[in-house]
């Protein structure tokens, strides 16, 4: 007894002294790899001492019983407070029975030294048996290492049983690893970019290192039916990235364990501060800021995560029949440039990447098809980056591709891939300042760049909306004219956080302005993006006020200006809050955002016809911009704008207002001024002329006669009777799209109809007769006509909801003209097969009298019933 207790106290002293020495050495060198190796050796030395004292005086005895290290102990990665995974391996049941008590004493001896032991006892035969309920044990055998006892027994396990088991059960083991890893990644939002990551479990943590090593080992054993070279389970290329990252993470985990005196793996803000100050994981620099040190951490975590996920994707046996079927479906999307094999994208021609356009199309392909880049494709991209950096694509060409990528359903995935390869910051250097940037507050869970990607992802995920309020948001997302502007705003909205400033919004605006300039966006597009970034906290701020108070709603709506911007800001707010952390967007908040949205939308429609009187608005921001753009045209601008609805100024950018003014000045040369543009989604025809009866209806009719489908229209008029009408239409028969020469003929045709030089009715009739043959629409929309005499002080509002059909707008507008109603404002919208047209009508600049209203309503109902 005396001998046992003196031995025990001697071991305790040895363990304490050696542990202190390891701790001190780590404090002076910061070398985590050395610390785990030394602790492994120390624990091994103690285990052997206990073995010789309690099991057998010989380290290699007794026969038929072996002590095996598993898990981290097996890998020689024993962190200061890691558990000890041990296997007591027996040749048969008899030895198991014979050593039962001594094993208990042995384990007790380790426990007494405060070593946390996770023991497993198995016979050789049991190790050969695959237990689907305990796949983890089979996987842990991949790290097995001989410690003491019968070496021949261990050799039978290591050389025969394990390769046979792994080859036989490779499919199940890979599947299990795949499931467990993916569900762990999902738990952490599939991102390495957590503000306070867990260095073991977060994606890119040490557990991913294990997964990468296990996958490589399993895959090699499956191929060779034997163990691969123990020093290189990973390929040389992978090891080059992997090993420095592993070295760094080992140091960080050692630091965390020693700092807290327990198995603590959370890299908290306080721990980050200390680690940065001490230069943990860095052999050549100390005293970094916590943010810079975390960037280094994220860089390493990204390498590990990339290696682990690539291996998960590339080892085919890891797929279930279901995922194999899914990947096969993906393969069908291959095209002339890219082939998809097992869900991974390969280049058909390696040299193609020299062309930046092909590179951008590759990411468009990823964003569209939900596929991942293969390792070889990634390597090829990395090789062309230096030459791309010399002359990076920019301007409208870059925006064309970037806008398309952003609008695709898997845009966030493509952006993350571009970011991980450093391509995104090469194309948009503005994002460098927020690359892996940790900004500390109590709410955000992710780094600034990841938060921005997540916000974009949140909007795309609305396509699979489940809850009622998600469906509301999905509905307005589908209606956006240029959703890519919203996505670009989300990408840039927090760039200011990378600059030393108290107000990141101001910083983000300045950075965004430079970026938009480089991308060469249209002026109106720039205004929209800057508006969204500059006001991205406005809706959240309004939510802290009484959203049922009309003054709050009016002030908010006034700030937003137009329904399109309101939709964008509402979606922005939804996506931004939701990207803060998984619980940030409570149903309470989501419903309040929606409530504020509909109140503000109604407010905007109610005040749509308030007229501009410029003296009162002399200091308006838009007027200032107009004065800057056209310093000499001051009086002319004022005269042109006088009496136009406020909505006009909010609808158009300053440059567009000046263009309309220029068109109005040319009315002396020709009374019909037309401008035709092709946008990304539709054509836009702007008409500036002097107001006259049937004007709006005639343009609508002429467009229908040309086979154009009007999806939106606006009509505004000023005090002098100059109208600015805009029609947005799709070219159903590709007349304009395929024949540039037709543009002039088209404009002349419209002009002739308006000048009375061409007869609209026969043209329209023949077109509509052709359309009638096409049969009935799939979705039936019930016609509804609502009049509202209260919502405006000057006009009577009519809202027509009806089945969209060729000539509908012409029918409605002609009906108004026939009854001497002047269209002050028209807001025409189409959702699928439903037309939602709102008109503000006057007669002699006054609201419609009740009797007049009845006649108009009856005529309109009859006209809509009869069809065009």
């Amino acid at each position: 007894m005396t001998t046992a207790s003196s031995s025990s106290s001697e071991l305790r002293d040895l363990y304490a002294e050696e542990s202190a020495r390891i701790r001190q050495e780590f404090a002076s060198t910061g070398n985590g790899c050395a610390a785990v190796t030394q602790r492994t050796a120390l624990v091994e030395q103690i285990a052997l001492r206990l073995w010789t004292e309690m099991i057998d005086p010989e380290e290699r005895g007794p026969r038929n019983f072996t002590l095996v290290a598993l898990g981290g102990f097996g890998r020689k990665w024993l962190f200061p407070h890691s558990d000890l995974d041990l296997l007591f391996l027996h040749a048969d049941r008899e030895t198991e029975q014979a050593f039962k008590d001594r094993i208990r004493e042995f384990s007790q001896g380790l426990w007494d030294l405060r070593l946390k032991v996770s023991p497993a006892t198995r016979t050789l035969q049991e190790c050969d048996r695959f237990d689907p309920a305990n796949v983890e044990f089979a996987i842990s055998l991949l790290d097995c290492r001989y410690l003491a006892g019968d070496a021949d027994l261990f050799a039978r396990l290591h050389d025969k049983i394990i390769p046979k088991l792994m080859t036989r059960e490779a499919q199940s083991l890979l599947q299990r690893l795949d499931d467990v890893t993916r569900s762990r990644h999902e738990k952490f939002g599939n991102t390495v970019f957590h503000l306070e990551p867990n260095v073991k479990d977060t994606p890119g943590g040490l557990r991913d290192c294990n997964v990468a090593l296990w996958l490589s080992l399993l895959s090699s054993i499956d191929k060779l039916h034997d163990w691969p070279d123990p020093n290189s389970p990973l390929s040389a290329a992978v090891r080059k990235q992997f090993e420095p990252a592993l070295d760094f993470l080992m140091s960080v985990r050692c630091f965390l364990h020693l700092r807290s005196g327990r198995d603590d793996n959370l890299l908290s803000w306080e721990a980050q501060e200390e680690a940065a100050k001490l230069g943990i994981g860095m052999y050549d620099s100390q005293g970094l800021s916590a943010a810079d040190w975390m960037r280094i951490y994220f860089g390493h975590a990204r390498s590990i995560h990339r290696t682990a996920t690539q291996l998960l994707d590339e080892i085919p046996a890891a797929w279930s029949p279901l995922s194999r079927h899914f990947h096969n479906l993906r393969s069908r999307v291959s095209d002339a440039d890219f082939s998809v094999v097992d869900g991974l994208v390969f280049l058909r021609q390696s040299s193609a990447l020299q062309d930046p356009e092909v590179l951008l199309r590759l990411f468009h392909f990823v964003a569209h098809h939900d596929v991942r880049l293969s390792t070889t494709t990634e390597n090829k991209i990395e090789r062309v980056l230096p030459s791309l950096a010399a002359t990076p694509p920019r301007g409208a060409e870059l925006w064309l591709y970037l806008g398309e990528i952003l609008a695709q359903p898997h845009a966030a995935q493509a952006l993350r891939a571009m970011h991980s390869l450093r391509l995104l910051t090469l194309l948009l250097p503005e994002l460098k300042a927020i690359d892996a940037l940790v900004v500390r507050d109590f709410y955000h869970r992710f780094t600034v760049d990841e938060h921005s990607f997540l916000a974009i992802e949140n909007l795309h995920r609305l396509r699979q909306a489940r809850s009622e309020w998600e469906k509301h948001y999905a509905e307005i997302l589908a209606e956006l004219e240029q959703p890519e502007l919203l996505y670009l705003s989300l990408l840039l909205h927090d760039t200011g956080k990378g600059e030393p400033s108290d107000n990141h919004v101001v910083g983000s605006l300045a950075i965004a302005e430079r970026c938009l300039e480089r991308l060469d966006l249209e002026p109106s597009e720039r205004e929209t993006v800057l508006f969204l970034i500059g006001n991205h906290l406005e809706m959240s701020a309004a939510l802290r006020r009484d959203i049922f108070d009309s003054a709050t709603v009016a002030a908010f709506a006034d700030k937003v200006g137009t329904p399109e911007r309101l939709k964008m800001l509402c979606l922005f707010t939804y996506a931004d809050i939701k990207a803060v952390n998984p619980d940030a967007l409570t149903p309470w908040k989501a419903e309040n955002v929606w409530q504020l949205y509909i109140s503000a939308a109604n407010q905007l429609n109610r005040n749509v016809d308030q007229r501009l009187h410029l003296d009162a608005d002399a200091n308006d921001e838009k007027m200032t911009r107009l004065r800057t753009l056209a310093p000499t045209a001051g009086k002319k601008v004022k005269a042109f704008l006088e009496g136009l609805p406020q909505r006009y100024l909010k609808t158009y950018a300053a440059s567009e207002v000046l263009h309309h003014l220029e068109m109005s000045e040319n009315l002396g040369k020709h009374p019909i001024q037309l401008d035709l543009k092709r946008g990304r989604h539709w054509f836009e025809l702007t008409l500036v002329t002097n107001d006259r009866p049937f004007l709006f209806g005639k343009v609508a009719g002429a467009l229908a006669a040309w086979g154009m489908n009007i999806v939106k229209a606006t009509a505004f008029s000023n005090l002098a009777g100059t109208v600015v009408d805009a029609f947005y239409f799709t070219d159903r028969f590709r007349t304009l799209e395929l024949n540039l020469s037709e543009w002039e003929r088209f404009k002349r045709g419209i002009s002739d109809v308006l000048m009375g030089e061409a007869d609209l009715e026969p043209m329209l009739k023949s077109r509509l007769q052709a359309e009638e043959k096409k049969g009935t629409p799939k979705v039936k929309i019930k016609t509804s006509i609502q009049f509202d005499d209260q919502c405006s002080s000057n006009s009577t509002l009519v809202q027509v909801v009806a089945q969209d059909r060729p000539g509908l707008l012409h029918t409605v507008a002609s009906c108004f003209a026939n009854h001497k109603c002047n269209i002050e404002i028209a807001l025409i919208d189409t959702e699928g097969q439903m037309a939602i047209d709102v008109f503000y009508l006057t007669t002699n600049r006054k609201k419609l009298a009740p009797e007049h209203l009845k006649r108009v309503e009856a005529a309109l109902r009859a006209a809509l019933q009869n069809g065009p």
């Binding site: 409530q595 609502q786 939602i836």
Partner: protein, 112 residues
């Protein structure tokens, strides 16, 4: 000790928090809530659809304080949350038998 539960307007949270801090109340629990008293719901029409909000968003504050502080706290909340209109909210007071600080098992007012 007394538990104070106050239902207030969302827009009044900041001023109520500031008033409570001024009289030395440091800790409180803030909950997002919905409900209505005499102030009934609110209806909006959007694209021909009716959106009725019969449960209005509110903030619920919960704090447990020493009995000597009750009147001061009630005054601070009332003054800061009052607009004089329907919907300003309510304050509920109830007795609390014991408070235990989980960290160190401290009990009574010292644990508040």
């Amino acid at each position: 000790m007394t538990k104070v539960e106050a239902i207030i307007q969302v827009s009044k949270l900041e001023s109520v928090k500031n008033s409570l801090h001024e009289i030395g109340v440091e800790g409180m629990t803030v909950l997002e809530a919905r409900g209505h008293g005499r102030q009934k719901g609110h209806t909006e029409f959007y694209r021909g659809r009716e959106y009725t909000v019969d449960l209005i968003p509110k903030i619920k504050l919960e704090l447990v304080i020493a009995d000597t502080m009750v009147e001061k706290v009630v005054q601070a909340i009332s003054l800061a949350a009052r607009t004089g209109k329907i919907g300003d909210g309510k304050i509920f007071l109830s007795r609390v038998e014991e408070v235990i600080r989980i960290r160190n098992d401290e009990r009574g007012e010292g644990a508040l």
